[in-house]
Each structure stands twice: as C-alpha cells, then as structure tokens.
Subunit: 284 residues, 2 copies
C-alpha cells in the first residue's frame, strides 16, 4: 500500500494525479509542486537536474513505490539521472505520450503542441524518432495556452458564447490553424503539456472544425497514468480499491510556495485539494 | 556624455529604452536584461534584492549617469537598497506611472492593470496612496497580456479582422470589461507592465468602446522616460542630439541568456537590436 510519488515544477502535474486517480482508484499519491522555483523551462540543465534530485529525494523519503516526473523540462534533463539513482521505477512526462501517439497514427504524421521550452528542447521529436524513425513530427509552441488554462477560460465543447469562450476559441483556431497549415496530413496531436488536458474539449472542437476528419488528441497526463498502471501491474504492485477513504487519504500534496494554489489546484485536479503542506527544499 | 543604465529581468524593459530614445534622442543607453533568471515575480524578496544589486553593479561599471529599474518586482523589493548604495540617481518602474495617473485623474479613480506579481505586490496601491490618499485604486491582473504581446498578436486600433486580432480583442474586452464592472467611474488606466505599451492601440480602442467617454491610458514605460528627462534636466545632465550616430552607438544591450532575443527585442524596441552581448552575472 505504498503511495505513488509525482513531482512537477508547479501545479500542472495535478492533471497527472487526476488521471491516476481516475485510472487507478485504489492508489494513493504524494505530490510535490516546486512552486517557489517555477518555471523550470527557463533554467539551465545543471540547475534543473539539481532541483529534480532534491524533489525525488523528498518523495523517496515518503516511501513511494514509483516516481512520476510530470514536468517536461525535468524529464528532458534529469530523467536518466533519477532512473540511475532511485531504487523505484521512474517514469517521465514525454515517453508515454510519444508512445501512444506513434501507436495511434495511421498516417505516420504526428503534431505536438507544448510550451516554448518543451518545443525548444526537442524532447518529443527525439522520443518519437526512437520509437519509429519513419513518423514525421511537427511541433508548435502555444504560449497562450498555459495562461488560458490557468485563467479557466476553457471554451469548452459547446461553443463560444461569452468573451472568455470567444478568446479561447480564437486562440485555439490560430494555433491549430498554423499546425494544420504546416502539416495538413497529421492524424494525431499530442497535448505535450500538463496544463492542456483542461483545454481538451476546446481543442477537440477546433480540430474537428479545421480538419473535418478524425484527429486523435493524445493527452500526455493520461498517457503517463496509463504507463504507470502497466508498469505497476507488471511488477505486481497495483493497489486495488478497498472501500471509501477519508478526505486527504488518496492525495497528500506538498508545495514549496502557497501562492494561488487553491484555485489553480482545484482546476487541475478536478476537485479541491484536501491536504496541502508547505515545505522548504534545500538549495543544494 | 555618460549613458543611462536600464535593467529588467527580461526584454520588456526595452519599451522603456524605446520611450527614452524617442523622448531623449541625444542619450545613449546601456541595457541589461537578466533573461537567464526571469521571471523575478515568482522569486523571494531576498533573491530579487541580490539579483538587482548584481545588475546595478554591472551597469555602474559602464559609467552610467542614472539607473532605471524597469522591472516592477525589482522596483518593489530593491529600489530603496539601490538608491542607498548607488552614487547616481535611481528611478523605479512604479512611481512615475503612479504620479502621472494621479495628475491625470479628475474623478480620483484610477485603474491599474499588470501581471499577477505586480498586482499581488500592492506596489501601485502604495505609491498612489503616498501621492494622494483620496484616490481610489482598482487593480486587475491580466495574465494573458504578456504572452499576447510576446506573440505579437496586438489587435491594433483598426479592428479584429484576423484570428490574432479576434483573440486579442476578446482578451482585452474580457479584462477591461471586468475592470469596468468593478470601477465604472475610473478615468485613468495605468499600463503597469513594460510589455503593455505594445497593446496600447488595442486597449485604447477597447476602453473607448466600453466606457464611451475619454479614459486616459498612462503607460509606465513612457512615464519612466519622462521622469528620467525631468531628473536629468534638473541635474544639468541632459545630452543633446549631436548629429547622426553609428549603428549600436545609441544602445548597447547585455543579456544573461540569448534565447529568442532577436524577435522579441525588436518587437519591444521598435527596431532590431544592433549591439547585443551575452554576459554572465555572478550568483552572489
């Protein structure tokens, strides 16, 4: 009955927790959001590796059975280090989504949307090339999607009646329109950022309008949860649901800074955070 | 003929440089953008003071006659420290805009828009209260405006023909609509972020549509340039234009990281950066 550990530079990784608790209702999660030092995307490799090792060490002290690195930048820079050092399985943010995208694409053409940092790192291009060098990958940075998700202007599947919906729709049409202009033949789009699952209904609606044929949206948070499930099943470590649980039992959340966590956390998680502690990580 | 020193956590402070070179065509500027460590808004006071002193020390070694702190967070946390330590006048990012807003408002009701960090710091509320405690200040964080300006989706004064314009217009209508709902009587809005001068035509158009009477937009970058001009004139230090100058003579730009600087820098400055060097600042 050990918990799964999840860390991210901020609160976005709670979309991974949400997917985990939906796919694996018997599991408990310990979450660490290094909100005092976000974003990682603008920091150098050495710094990101240092921060990631500190986060991993903190979670390992909570007796976790598996570590999920929900931050794309930490995955790109620190995954191999963490896998070499931790005594438990370590899953990154990129490989699960890349793997589902390759499996889902019949055309062999995949689009990846993410932050400027994720796109610049080339991590999805490398991960997909390692899985299947024949798949053509088109990446596009969408800098307005993170603040859009954080503001909760989600557009939704039903249209764009109000100003927030109109803004969200125009932004999504602008970005996915550029992706379509660059790769009209793609049939899979990877949502390569932990914030993007909130925008999924909006993106599905806009993609349908643009391509007028099925385009699969692969959500990297859901893909991580499914990869964790497979790995835990393989190791015989899956926890089965054992009846109702007390509030805060399924998720224990640690943050290095508490600004704005309640509203954002609930948005990413799908319900309010019940058990949150502030924690100081050492600098080195 | 000493230069003016300007520092910011990123490239946004180039809107202050642009205003300076428009108001004071005889001056030279040395600019430092601490792009490797941005944003400052999520960092603690002690860290911001340390970074600000390092930036100030770097610029003072370039024999500047005045120091402008274009970063709101650095102004909020480090201005007094820098004013106490530097042998040249030091101007912050908040007081000049606050002062112009108080002078411009007949209704005694001022709106301030900025980043989440600037709004949360309360720096404009304090600065305006110090100037005139009877002025009522309504602040609103507009997290989508910075990525909007960085993407160059500026909407503009002419309307919203394309998707970028439609997105920009809907975002501006949403934010300024909330500001109007909270304070319909305001007659001045401070653009309290160095990125916002790029959005000025859009914001002017949307404000006119919402209020249907004149609402003055006080741009904090322009206000800083005007405050610098007054202070230099008072000290007899104004440099008068002395004929055409060689490329790179009017502005020497230093950045601590060079990612994406060319496109963004040109957008904020109004023309391409001619003389850019990467520089490493010490950690302490």
């Amino acid at each position: 009955m050990q918990p799964i550990g999840v860390f991210d530079s901020g609160l976005g990784g709670l979309t991974v927790v949400r997917a985990l608790t939906e796919e694996l209702p018997g599991e408990s999660v310990v979450y660490l959001g290094d909100t005092a030092r976000l974003p990682y995307g603008t920091k150098g490799a050495e710094t990101v590796v240092r921060y990631s090792r500190l986060s991993a060490r903190f979670l390992l002290r909570h007796d976790i059975k598996m570590l999920l690195v929900a931050c794309n930048t930490a995955s790109a820079y620190a995954l191999e280090t963490l896998q070499g050092e931790a005594a438990v399985p370590v899953l990154g943010a990129v490989e699960p989504g890349a793997s589902e995208a390759v499996a889902a694409s019949r055309a062999g053409r995949v689009g990846v949307i993410g932050t400027l940092g994720t796109v610049r790192s080339g991590s999805y291009v490398r991960a997909i090339a390692a899985l299947d060098p024949h798949v053509k990958v088109t990446t596009l940075a969408c800098p307005l999607f993170v603040p859009l998700a954080e503001e909760g202007w989600l557009g939704g599947a039903d249209g764009d009646g109000d100003l927030e919906g109109r803004a969200a729709t125009a932004i999504a049409e602008r970005y996915l329109g550029e992706l379509r202009a660059r790769e009209p033949e793609l049939d899979v789009i990877v949502l390569g950022c932990t914030h993007y699952p909130l925008l999924r209904p909006l993106l599905a609606r806009v993609a349908e309008g643009l391509w007028r044929r099925p385009v699969a949206l692969v959500d990297s948070a859901g893909a991580m949860a499914r990869a964790a499930e497979r790995e835990l099943a393989r190791l015989g470590l899956l926890a089965l649901p054992a009846g109702p649980r007390a509030p805060g039992e399924a998720l224990h959340c640690f943050l290095t800074d508490e600004a704005r966590f309640a509203e954002l956390g609930a948005r990413f998680l799908g319900h309010p955070l019940e058990r949150v502690e502030r924690v100081d990580l050492p600098a080195t």
